[in-house]
């Protein structure tokens, strides 16, 4: 095949094309995505205020981290939100996805569109909307509760430590599980109906038993989703930053907001090195958890195959 009719010289060659087409992608990728990740292993060992040059201080940041009570309190909050919101997001998504795929409710099609809507709203809007909804005097939350007979008067949800901590779960869940729901819907749709039919013949008329068929079949998908939700352990950040900024007095502080304040807060000198060190600790924690989770989940699979 004479394939060089018009392609002359180096610039028409395949090599040039490959290089030229990949170069921009690789350049931008490396510069803006790889470099920050690599330097996140360097700055933790420095003291850097953003103005003077970074100073190498070895492990000193980590010594400070070990003694930083505020940081560990923030981590407790992360764990709190993760432990509560994640199961809700997961199971609500699974159950609703199952219903929307398997039950011919006429309103089902409408729900598919409506339920996903909060997930696509800008998180700023969700956060601000709920922040004002929780307002003691003018917010819709209290208005609704009072109208339903739960007399909360003018309780300012976001200025009381415990109330704020729990109240934030509502917007987290409000916008949170629809993404999972869509993924589950896709996975459930690919489960062969014949499996359900045979279960019916065996007398499994219970919806719960249908559950026991669905879950094993979509287990691969679920594994990926569990993995991503584990990585999201320290992710709750933007919503909290906007709604309470960690307040009142650190009651809703999470690691993200804490890092943000250390690096960019207005409380004096920026401490990029220390903030980066926190980030590195998070990475290490997540790494360990991921490995444990993987081992655990794979072992479960092996047992199933043997039995």
């Amino acid at each position: 095949m004479n394939s060089v009719i018009k392609r002359k010289g180096f610039f028409g060659s395949k090599t040039f094309f490959i290089i030229a087409s990949l170069a921009p992608l690789l350049f931008f990728y490396t510069l803006f995505l790889v470099v920050p990740k690599i330097t996140s292993f360097y700055y933790p060992f420095t003291e850097y205020d953003g103005v003077s040059d970074p100073v190498w201080i070895g492990l000193r940041n980590f010594a400070t981290i070990a003694k930083d009570a505020d940081l560990w309190d923030a981590m407790k909050n992360n764990f709190f939100y993760w432990a509560i919101a994640t199961p809700i997001n997961f199971f609500a998504a699974l159950i609703v996805a199952f219903l929307l795929v398997k039950k011919p409710y006429p309103e089902g099609k409408f729900y598919r569109i409506l339920y996903y809507f909060p997930a696509i709203l800008p998180s700023v809007i969700t956060a601000l909307m709920w922040q004002f909804a929780f307002h003691g005097r003018y917010g819709i939350f209290n208005a609704l509760l009072n109208a339903m007979g739960v007399n909360v008067g003018e309780f300012y949800w976001l200025t009381h430590a415990t109330a704020a901590r729990w109240a934030l779960i509502i917007p987290m869940v409000w916008g949170g599980w629809a993404g999972n729901m869509l993924i589950f819907m896709g996975a459930i749709q690919s489960v062969p109906v014949s499996l359900y039919e045979s279960a019916e013949l065996d007398g499994a008329s219970d919806t719960a038993k249908l559950f026991l068929i669905t879950v094993p079949v979509i287990w691969e998908t679920m594994k990926t989703m569990i993995f991503f939700s584990i990585i999201g352990l320290f992710g709750a950040f933007e919503l909290i930053l906007v709604m309470t900024n960690g307040g009142p007095a650190g009651a809703t502080e999470v690691v993200g907001t804490y890092m943000y304040k250390i690096a960019f807060g207005t409380e004096g000198i920026a401490a990029f090195g220390y903030a980066a060190a926190i980030g590195l600790i998070l990475f290490a924690i997540l790494g360990v958890i991921s490995i444990i989770a993987f081992r655990f989940m794979d072992r479960g699979e092996a047992i199933e195959m043997d039995g």
Binding site: I120, F132, L144, A276, G279
Partner: protein, 290 residues
């Protein structure tokens, strides 16, 4: 063997509904209410006067105060930030599409020695996540002198979705038939011509999906403009609305703020209604792969 009467219809759904379903439907309806209620509250509040607002949360507006919207747009910076958002989104979407369309075409259609290494080089960084890079990205942007500029933000944002989009596009492009390409080569087309006239048009559905996702990501992005932009003049919508809300602590012009919320929600609603099938379609691809 004749198939026993199935309890499932052709769409895989159960044929009969039972009493338990009534309870479930009520619960689903309740959740729908939980979603709709705050949104409706924001909307009808945006049309009230502040006095009406302070009177009662439930009261419907008397006369619709459309001037709240005008005030939010022209006096409180929403209009200006909307323009900034348009600039930011256009620039970032164009840049990212250019980068991934070009690169993924080559990754998907050509076999060369470094191909797998490059592909995994790109996909591999998915494992290091966001919080770590918040600080180091800022440091980098500062070192590159890209802070406080929409152009800098465009360049940064253009790079962000590369990993995810590479995944989608490469997978899609791999599935496209190669015969058209080869026919083009035989006819003497250059690689560039083939890319432009055949490769890209074939990839149109995937490119559209990628851009819908990019739109959502960029439009909703709050933390990066917050970090990188200092001048309120250059704020995109997300940060502008935030700063507007913060000023409400002493301004108390809530109805105008709420109209700002609605303004910001409108493009999202538009894009969602137009493209929601693309969104659901693409997540299915992800589910099947997993």
């Amino acid at each position: 063997m004749a198939k026993a009467a199935s309890t499932y219809n052709d769409s895989g759904m159960v044929k009969r509904l039972e009493v338990g379903d009534l309870v479930l439907r009520v619960l689903l309806a309740l959740w729908a209410l939980v979603i709709i209620l705050p949104l409706i509250w924001v909307f009808y509040t945006s049309l009230k006067t502040n006095q009406e607002f302070f009177l009662s949360a439930w009261k419907m507006p008397g006369v619709f105060q459309w001037k709240n919207y005008y005030r939010a747009w022209s006096q409180l910076g929403i209009g200006k930030s909307f323009v900034n958002t348009i600039i930011l989104l256009t620039g970032a979407m164009l840049l990212n599409t250019f980068l991934v369309a070009l690169g993924c075409y080559t990754l998907a259609r050509f076999d060369f020695k470094l191909r797998n290494i490059i592909y995994w080089y790109i996909i591999g960084s998915y494992f290091i996540t966001g919080l770590n890079t918040m600080v180091t990205s800022y440091i980098l942007m500062r070192q590159l002198n890209l802070l406080n500029s929409l152009l800098g933000l465009i360049v940064f944002e253009g790079a962000q979705p590369i990993v995810f989009n590479t995944l989608i596009l490469t997978a899609f492009m791999k599935g496209q038939p190669k015969e058209l390409d080869e026919a083009a080569y035989i006819d003497g087309a250059s690689y560039w011509q083939t890319l432009w006239h055949i490769g890209l048009p074939l990839a149109r559905p995937a490119l559209l999906t990628v851009n819908v996702f990019n739109f959502m990501r960029y439009y909703n992005d709050f933390i990066h403009p917050l970090l990188f932009i200092r001048d309120p003049e250059k704020y995109p919508l997300s940060v502008a609305i935030y700063s507007m809300a913060q000023s409400m602590t002493y301004r108390a012009d809530w109805v105008t703020l709420f109209s700002g919320f609605v303004i910001m929600m409108i493009p999202t609603i538009l894009v969602y209604s137009l493209f929601q099938n693309y969104i659901t379609q693409n997540l299915n691809i992800g589910a099947l792969k997993g």
